[in-house]
Assembly symmetry: D3
Homo-oligomer: 273 residues x 6
């Protein structure tokens, strides 16, 4: 069950409100790299967590923190929208900077939200929950979480580079730091469970008889005019310690697919029947 405190997790200051930056910040709220995604992803993983209870506790604790991130980012968007131009009156239209702001900002920050944050990305596309990855497999989920936090930290750094508002830079430096921790904590779960060698291939519970293992450790090159790119993946021991990597040219092993005629009752053209 959830509770709320009236203060933000981190302080939000905006010295120079900037509606273009408000648009950019939306990526950190409603983008696939954003906070709604991680909050909901960890929450749904927690609700489906089977196995040792402490991983469920870890997930729900961090899901809860991410809700607080949405909250202070939402406040940052609203503060950046203070003083945004809301009209195309003539004197404004003569000023190319005002013009560019009106054209460049998210129009729904005026039209739909009345100058506050929305659950959309920087293009104004609403977040959709198909991005909540929760497989029931802790290995797959921990990788998904580390991925989400890696994308989140890439985004936070790009936002940091974009602004010169000291308040925004300060807030983003906190986000960058938390994303550091979160990347590590999800990968630390894998390490605690024996590390990559024990975890791979995910799921590590597949019976050997289900896998055509002769295809499991060979890099297939589909290029017609370049040799296979060589690296850690073309020779040496596999990461799960079970085999050696090799490489081969990709070749068809199957038939030419042919479906025959269409059924009479299938509303195809007569010429197909």
């Amino acid at each position: 069950m959830f509770y709320h405190s009236s203060k933000l997790q981190y302080e939000v200051r905006v010295e120079k409100p900037n509606p273009l930056f408000a648009k950019m910040l939306q990526q950190a709220i409603g983008g696939v790299e954003g906070e709604i995604r991680v909050a909901m992803q960890y929450f749904f993983q927690a609700m489906g967590a089977r196995g040792p209870v402490k991983y469920r506790d870890l997930l729900i604790a961090t899901a809860t923190e991410e809700l607080s991130h949405i909250e202070f980012l939402g406040h940052a968007v609203a503060l950046n929208l203070e003083k945004a131009p809301t009209s195309m009156q003539e004197e404004a239209a003569k000023d190319p900077v005002v013009n560019a702001i009106l054209g460049g900002m998210n129009p729904r920050h005026i039209l739909s939200s009345g100058l506050s944050a929305m659950p959309v990305n920087s293009n104004g596309v609403p977040f959709d929950m198909s991005h909540i990855y929760a497989t029931g497999n802790i290995g797959a989920d921990m990788l998904a979480n580390a991925t989400a936090e890696a994308g989140g930290r890439v985004l936070a750094e790009r936002l940091y580079n974009m602004t010169d508002d000291p308040g925004m830079k300060d807030m983003l430096s906190f986000l960058i730091a938390r994303d550091t921790m979160h990347q590590q904590q999800w990968l630390a779960v894998i390490e605690e469970l024996g590390g990559l060698e024990a975890a791979l291939p995910i799921p590590n519970s597949v019976p050997e008889s289900h896998e055509a293992t002769k295809h499991s450790y060979v890099f297939l090159n589909t290029s017609l005019d370049k040799p296979a790119p060589e690296g850690r993946w073309t020779s040496g021991p596999s990461l799960d310690g079970k085999a050696k990597f090799s490489q081969a040219k990709a070749e068809p092993m199957g038939q030419e697919p042919a479906l025959g005629k269409a059924r009479p009752d299938s509303a195809a053209q007569k010429e197909q029947m």
Copy 2:
């Protein structure tokens, strides 16, 4: 540039066509764990690859292989739909098995595709390209790719468990094997670039001054009634080798957010102004 061979990468046999299994297989084509996703993800990552060329070559080679996976899975769906019931005529309606199949299969396999594969998941929801993760950061991308392949292998194993058609089991054992390799090859890129310690935190190019590092290695517990779940993430060296993990109770560090009155021109209610 792409070319095509007329044969499938792997042989597809269906001994007992099953339209319910055709619906299930769609998850491997048009689900977020499916082949359209990985094909397009590796393709877009390749098109944006900056840095050593061999990683671009690796990406495009595997993108190309994944297109071939779509192709044989699409053939498997069509073969499973041969003999699907297309009518609710009375004698059929009396047979509860036929009834259950008609109710349970994807209706669009009859109505929209005329008994062949569609770019949708097992609920019939079309795949959308917001799931193509390509950040321009090779660390984030490799994690995203390993995640995709982990989800894919989890799915393939669940499909394997679901069917008792020997042809389908054989085809899925090949997919399970390729997903093993692909998981490993993406993680092998990280290993080649110095391993997790060098890669983390992603992006590893963030200047130290951009990060509030005192928050970077501490697990924050937001639980009101349970202690922090202890593990590899609460003590010991951090995975990037730069610090030690610790834990703390989450506490507000920010202000109570307050936006003041609504602007007169913002179409709020008078009572808000």
Copy 3:
């Protein structure tokens, strides 16, 4: 800032796990009538709340409660999926009940989530955040919230009628009760601000000069062959106390729209230019 307690807000018991009911319950989690929607809607309204602070407090308090509703519903879904069939092996296929369950349940409850809740509706369509209504106008928002809770209570009653599991009925009776309260509390805000007469028309801050008031209180009948349906809306005082309702036949007041020729550089057909 958010916190979490380890116990559920309400007890969840499932005596007869039923994967079809698990699918149905998803509507209450990820449907437009569901809990993700209200949690996020109240949260975003709170973040944009301007005017008296107590309405923001009200919003965030209830947003927090709704997060707890997601949590216990998620647990209910997982419990209903215990014992779900995960295979089409031959003996199962002979049993029409098993067949109907396998065809009727959400396939992604097996394939994607590994037998737990997902942020999707009962068709398996992911929730998307375009349904978060937060206009910055407290009148519009309170109506939107009452609407959401009305839809939610309609849904909860339909789910109650559908199941005969006593644990599920008990949990739903709690949801029905909370939806009662939430409907009333949002409408109570309107009452506190002067009631409908003062609130209407929303926004009540539109200057009179912006409105062609001769069209503001007349019901327009567009029917060619039926008289206007008469009722409270065709005569008597308007609900805002400013005018009297009347009715009229709808008539065109504008021109025939005509755009002229296509531009030479617009890639139209020559015949349009």
Copy 4:
């Protein structure tokens, strides 16, 4: 059945075509606050209307009017796009105003529609029909309709404030007026059916035995550090006249959710089994 007259419901004049305003106007066509939404919402409610026939007649009459609103707004968008720049040729690129317009307008107004209206919002996101709320419960539906019209009138006022084109202001003053009427007519249905007291809680047909009524009239405060916000919703008679409002601190009433081990056949990691 529908018919069409060749004239617009309201006159559309554009004195100073402005492609940025064309983009903004799209919100009134294809936004969630827009006319496609209300036209289709009232249409689907009419098709599912059970009970007194006059409400169906009311719904279909207004659905028909809203189709006419789409039509004149679509004409307004096209007129605002006359003279839009369609090229980035060099002299244009030197003019920052032209530049800002090209960057700020909806690119698909040039690229996809050839300078006319599209069924998208002001971000270019296509309208989707998940926003058509039609529950079969007239109380829930009337609230949904009043909500839609409240959002619509908020939007129309914001568009009015944004433009200084007299033709556009005139057209919008008509929309503001019609939204006034439509808000009132839907709420008038509730009044005719006995008013809020009779209608609440929606649905008013829930048997008392289905509701845990001790939770039905109490505001739950989830805040850790603020008292419950007091107001009409914390004391006094409930809006349905059945009880008195009260308040309480939210407390867990349920168990700690625990799912146990993962099934052997569920493709979880071995460590979860």
Copy 5:
């Protein structure tokens, strides 16, 4: 401007209500082959029609007819849902036919719409307006319209084959007939404008200097192991009468794409810079 008559365009009779067929019929309402799509597509094309006025009149007349098709199909869905099972009570659960219906029907027909039509397809996926094709080019639009009607007639025939309800067959025979006419009328526009030879290539207003015409009439074979499929498209005069078809093996004409190093400020990994 639109008007409405109280009678349906075509009679709707359902002798044996069937909730599975209700689900199927939704494809004809909210599917990409359905009536919402064509109604809105012709409507938006009409609003953007430039050039001879009669084509706009043709478009809006047929858009209006399609609205009437939505209306009678919506009624057909509601009639098919009369008597649908709404509960999983025990005696029902013992009957595999009831079970199959409950599992197979669209659950939202009970949960969300209260037994009436929704703007969704047969998988329950809401229609979205990205499917409204209106380019401003009458050639492209007429082909899009003929395509939509071809898909619609394929669907109507499949629905006809699926049902044995005489009322439903009668209604569908009307839809099949109207789709015949609509296919023809859109292609007749092309014929009236000079036929395919004059219309192609669409747009026929592209200046010759914009086209690398040596690539305009040659079929490129990308197959590695099969000769080009020969047919009307590999030899003989082109359909626009301007050239002769030929064939060639596809070959790269461009460079190896290489983007160089990542920018220092782009949050890539250091190894890419």
Copy 6:
């Protein structure tokens, strides 16, 4: 099965990188008129192709070519993003041109992709696979393909008009040419199968008894105040050679739809029961 060559199908040169044009070009990648759409559409049609094998070969050959178009367009986007501004630092903010570019470009080209192509359209909306039309009917599919290529060529010409970069114009002239060929080749299939007269009405396999043919060749005018627009579709032989076109005023042939009372268990309001 697919293979890849390391060179692009066509040369890509960008002389004056322009991030606004990068945004525009996205329409040709991830727009409904774009290359992902045609690649996937032809691919799925090929996988479902029944009847003469050569049409499957034709489809897969061109699907493969379209993948190569995605590839060179993706490179063009990346090259146009070289030198894009990534910061709002003060000196930049003073320059209205820089400002306009920052506001006008796709923010996710910086924030999400790190300066490379994405599978989205020019509004940043991700492509979704609901646009893959593959009906199993070769007539419907060929029209859909010609439509897609007509839309594609319209788009390519508009992009050509928009840029003055010689490299981009050259690349687009190739796309215009290929779209010419592809339009023709799909229509040539119809011609080879007997031409429109034999193909219409699609599907041409509908038994006559399924169609209410008295409604199949009559244009219905739904206008209240204009005569039917006369043309090739109102008189003369029908395009399938089976009948003569005529026209009539649209009239209701059905009943007034009425659903009666709501069921007691349907959670409607009491007043509806």
